[in-house]
Every structure is written in C-alpha cells, then in structure tokens.
Symmetry: C2
Subunit: 344 residues, 2 copies
DNA sequence: TACCGTCGCTAATGCGTATTATCGGATGGT
DNA sequence: ACCATCCGATAATACGCATTAGCGACGGTA
C-alpha cells in the first residue's frame, strides 16, 4: 500500500496524498477541505502508513533516536547502571513520540563496542544518545566533525560534545565540607582505576573541599586490579577517620575488611561512597553516599537531543552542556570521629 | 558522502561501487580484483557507510529487528519481567549483527501501547518481536494477514502466529506429580485474574496432574482486585496441604498471611509458585517454583525471527512454534504434609 | 573473415516519499 | 475586454541505493 495506490482510490495525485498526510497548507500546495476529507477517508479505510525509509530518504525526520552503549545494556552486571538511564530515556522518548534504535550490532573489540563500522545504521536515526562510563575521545571527535546530532550522558571534556552530566564537583565538595564540620581531619580517598571525566570531577571536588584546611590531612590511593586487601593495608597505615570511595563496587568488600579488622563503621571509621550501590536494597548497610539522578539524566538527554535535532541554527554552548545536581543520601556510615564524640 | 561521490573518486560508476560493496559476483556484474581494491581503498579512506534508508527503500534487508512491548520496558515495576528477555534478545541480536528498534512511540490507551498507529515505524524493521503477558488478538491477526514477519514471546493460540514460549503444561503437571508423591491430597490453586495463554497452560497442566487421582481433592480460586485476605479465608476453609500460586506477586503476601495465622511453611502448608519471584534475592524465602528461561526465550525469538526473515519459502508450522522447557527450582516451601511425616 | 562467448563495466530504472515548479480555471479590478 | 491574483491540484524531480539489461572489447573457433 503506497501513496500512489491511495491516490488512485481517492482519484487524486500522489502529491495530493502527501500534502494531506503532512498537513501542508503553504501557499504552494493547498487542498480543499472536501478533497482532504476524501483522502483521509481512504487512508483510514486502508490503514495505510507511510514507509519510514522512503520518508527518511526524501529528507524528512523519522522520529527515531539512536542509543549507543559501549557495553551490552541489559545483562545483570550492568543492569543497575543502564536500566535507570534507559527508563528515563524510554519515558521521555514515549512522550516525544520517538522510537529508539539500539545499536546492538556494533562489533566488540577489547570488550567495548565500536560505533563506527561497516554498515552502521547511525544514519537511520535523527540523532543518537551515547552511554558509558568512559567514551572513546576519537569517536566523539568524529561525531562532532561529522556534524552528527548526538548527546553524551556524563560530562565530556572533548570540545563540541553536547552532554547531560552530573555535577560531581560540587556534590563531592559538599560532602567533604560535611565531614569537616563533623570534625574529620584525616581523609583517605580511594580511586578506581579510571580517568573518565566523572571520576576526575569527584577528585577535583574532593581537592576543592579539603583545600585551605591546613590541619586536615588527606591522601589518594588507586585500586589497581583486584588488590583491595592491599588498599586496606594502605588505609590502616594512613589511619584516616573517614574514607571516600570512588567506586560503589568497593563498598561492600571494604566494609567486610573493616569488620574483620575490628573496625566499626561509622564508629571507628566513616565511609562515604561517591556513587550508587550495585543493587539498592541488596546490601544491608545504607551507605552515606551520592546518588546520580539517572532517570533524569536519561530524560534530559532525550530532551536535549530532540532540541538539537529540531533547531536549525546553532545552539549556544551553554545550553549544549547540562549538569544536573546529585542527590545526597544521608545513610548511616558517616558520623563524627571518635575523639570528637568523646569531646562532646 | 554517497556512492556517487565514491564512484567519482575511484573513477568508476555508482553501479560498480554498489557491486563492490555488496560483494556481488554474479555473471552480471563482475568486477576485476584490481578495480575492486581501488574502490575499497576509497571507501576506507572516506569512511563511507551506505545510507540504510536508501538501502531499505531499494529492497534490501537492513538488519533491524523491531521490539514491541505492551508496557514500558524499563521501569522498576516490570524490570524483572522484561530485562532477562531483553538480555537474551540483545545478546542474540549482537551475534546476528542486528540492531534493535524499540517501538516506544506507540500511543498508550488503557495503559497498553497500541502497535498500529499513524506513522508507526514497523516497516523500518525487517521483522518484529512482541513482548507482553497478554497480547491483543486483533493485533496478532492483523500482523499475520499483513504478511509481516514477527515472533511473539509466549505461546499464542491465535492461528498463524509464530512464537517462542514456555511449556507450562508439562512443568506444572510435573510439579503436581511431585506433590502427589510426597503425599499431598488437598490442592488449592490460586489463579491470577487473567486468561492469557500462559496461565491457561498452567491450569491445564494442573488439571492433568490431578486427573485420575480420585482421592485427591482440589479447588480453584481467582484473586480479583486486591482481595488477597479474602483468598486466604477461602484457603483456610478448604484446608489444603499444598498451595499452587499462579502469580509470583502473591507469594510474599500469602506467606505473611500464613505466618500471621500461625501456619508454618512448609510445615503446615506447602507453597508452590508457578513463576519467578519479583526480585531474585530480595525475598528471604526461597520458594519452590517454576522459573521460565527468559534469556533463552529472548534469544530464541531472535533466532526464529531471523530465520523467518531469511527464508523465502514458507516454514512449516512445527518450526514456527517453539516451546522451551521450564526450569524447576527445588526451593524450600515444598515438603510432605504433616500426617505423612507423622506416618514416616 | 565472420561469429560467438566471456569479461568488465556502465546506463537506466525503480523503490516510496517530499518538495518545487507549474498549470488551468475562477475571480476581481480597471 | 484585459490583466493580475488567487485557488486547487498536478507533473516533475530528487533522495541514495540495488538491480537489470546491455555495451564494447577481446580472444577463440569455424
């Protein structure tokens, strides 16, 4: 069933059918209400739907948003990271009347999917949302110079990349301030083995937080591989009153190590997690932590992307770079350090 | 960047570029290796990718599989149902080199998405996978008569509908046999308020299981709305030794009701759940239950769909209707009834 | 030399839609 | 009576690709 067939049935030209379908009422291409109704009636009767491929080829938008994830989106290991984002994306896409094209066909190299490959279907979508803890800078650059409409989730320092991210700098800084106010003076910051923007932001916020407090000591330690017991040794050696964990993955294991070593939390040691626990509700301990508004991130990315697609003129950089506030979860693993409590 | 541009750069015709790209080596359309290499070199240098819309319009497949869910796929309430299915679908799609088009734009009527609507993008995909506990028979029929390639997940009794489902009949029957062997003679079957194929199959299996055992009593009871306490009264009145729950949603609540009434499980009452618990690992009780192989279902649907798309001649009905075996989880809520234990 | 088959490639065409240019007729003003 | 507008609709075209028919060159055979 094509427009031509509809046209035959209604006794008009294919052009007229197209004009009716798209509600074109310009000076060029005016259709009498009578004719319009007749065509619409035929369309209803035949349940005709325009071929999206042809529509796309002829230059129209097609209300399809691409979604690219650097890893598989649904498996259990990553479900807690991707699912809330996808929930937000799906919800917003539904509101905007968009379908979602998930680029699952991307070949996997070194455990990561490759955006650009033979027969990639990027051009099918009006634009694309990129998800992943870390992204390939080269990919981003190529998308930018290609003039492709896209939005990254998470802050990206690559020039010209539109994104919706989380303001980890302010949030982390604020957490450090709280710890300082409670009396903490020895800070241990445990880094995950990554140099993605989101962790760099946490580190920057941490530095800003402790800056200027001469009597506060702090140290950084990077977890490489799975040597968490090594990390614990370093922690004991430093003797902090509060522990900042960059990776939520370390939280449960470290809590166990602390318990084995006879440390109570937060009695002997406060723990602050700069991210969400792997499965909310699974761990028994309610960590004091930051919680990224993931559904809002996903929905925000869709809104930004559709704005980019719709607007023909350039959008000012300030609007292309969105930072959302992080939620703070009070939890139960942050308290005043022991000497402070004794003093009280 | 189009094939025409590539052709200019390589000093050949657009036809040649197309032939090279698609590796056509028929009698008509033979390209010298030398020419082929030259074209390939230009393609590599320009990172050209064929426009999928044009390719589709020209009659080719485009390696895109549609995914339709009757409800939003990602929200928390349904995540445990859809996510494993999507995991399987994604994994299989990745293997087959297919992208997934999620039809999120479908308008929602009465809480359910409508497949057919103005500007639906069904035709974009080579075929489509349908997900949902219950499906609209009219939709299915329309897809069948339209000659559209699709696969439903879950058994469907509508004629001509290809599906990958679960053999709930055999599995449920087998569970009844186990209960009988343990000595159970009074069966209470709690129905959810649904007449979908999958619950009908469970009921059929249950009936088959108890059939022929004259000394075994059983009764059915349908939970309407949220009257679970009413259901519990009915259960007490009947005095069963074993309870079959059609809906996993009732399991935790019923366990609580039983505890409040002083019944121990499985001491005074065995409970068998004919489905997966809402969140594996969340509930403390490990129910004796059936577990649908959801990832296999998803992957199986993708495989069947790609087979349907690829094959030009009709596929025999037997291959279009696939039933997978259900996993049995022993759990800890099924034991011999009290009188039997006393006798032992 | 005439004929035929094969090789290597290209011109032409169609897919279904959106858009532009154009066209015949009606209407109105001078 | 004539020109200018406006109205309602259509023919023609482009989008980028895949496919079919066919063309010129070349070599072998009769």
């Amino acid at each position: 069933m094509t427009q031509r067939r509809i046209a035959e049935l209604a006794g008009v030209s294919q052009t007229t059918v197209s004009l009716v379908l798209n509600n074109r009422v310009n000076a060029t291409g005016r259709i009498a209400k009578e004719t319009r109704d007749r065509v619409m009636e035929v369309i209803r009767a035949t349940t005709y739907v325009a071929d999206p491929a042809a529509r796309r080829l002829a230059g129209g938008e097609n209300q399809i948003l691409g979604v690219f994830t650097y890893e598989a989106a649904f498996p259990h290991e990553t479900v807690d990271f991707y699912t809330p984002l996808l929930t937000g994306i799906e919800s917003a896409a539904e509101t905007m009347g968009c379908d979602l094209l998930m680029f699952t066909s991307a070949p996997v190299v070194n455990g990561r999917r490759q955006i650009f490959h033979q027969n990639n279907r990027l051009a099918f979508a009006d634009g694309c949302i990129l998800l992943g803890l870390e992204m390939d800078t080269e990919d981003l650059r190529r998308l930018v110079v290609g003039g492709y409409s896209f939005v990254a989730i998470g802050r990206r320092s690559t020039p010209g990349v539109p994104y919706v991210g989380v303001d980890y700098v302010s949030s982390t800084k604020e957490l450090v301030r709280r710890a300082l106010q409670l009396g903490h003076r020895r800070f241990f910051y445990l880094e995950r083995d990554s140099r993605g923007e989101s962790v760099l932001d946490r580190r920057a916020g941490f530095r800003e937080g402790v800056a200027g407090f001469r009597n506060a000591q702090h140290t950084f330690y990077t977890v490489s591989g799975k040597g968490l017991s090594e990390a614990w040794k370093a922690i004991i050696a430093f003797g902090p009153t509060v522990l900042f964990l960059e990776s939520e993955d370390h939280s449960a294991a470290l809590l166990k190590l602390a318990a084995e070593a006879g440390y109570s939390v937060p009695g002997d040691l406060s723990i602050i997690v700069l991210g969400d626990p792997p499965r909310s509700g699974t761990t028994d301990i309610d960590f004091t932590r930051l919680s990224a508004p993931r559904e809002d991130l996903g929905a925000g990315a869709v809104k930004l992307l559709t704005k980019i697609i719709a607007s023909k003129e350039r959008i000012p950089d300030s609007e292309l770079r969105v930072l959302l506030n992080c939620r703070f979860v009070p939890g139960s693993t942050l308290a005043a350090p022991k000497n402070e409590r004794a003093a009280q």
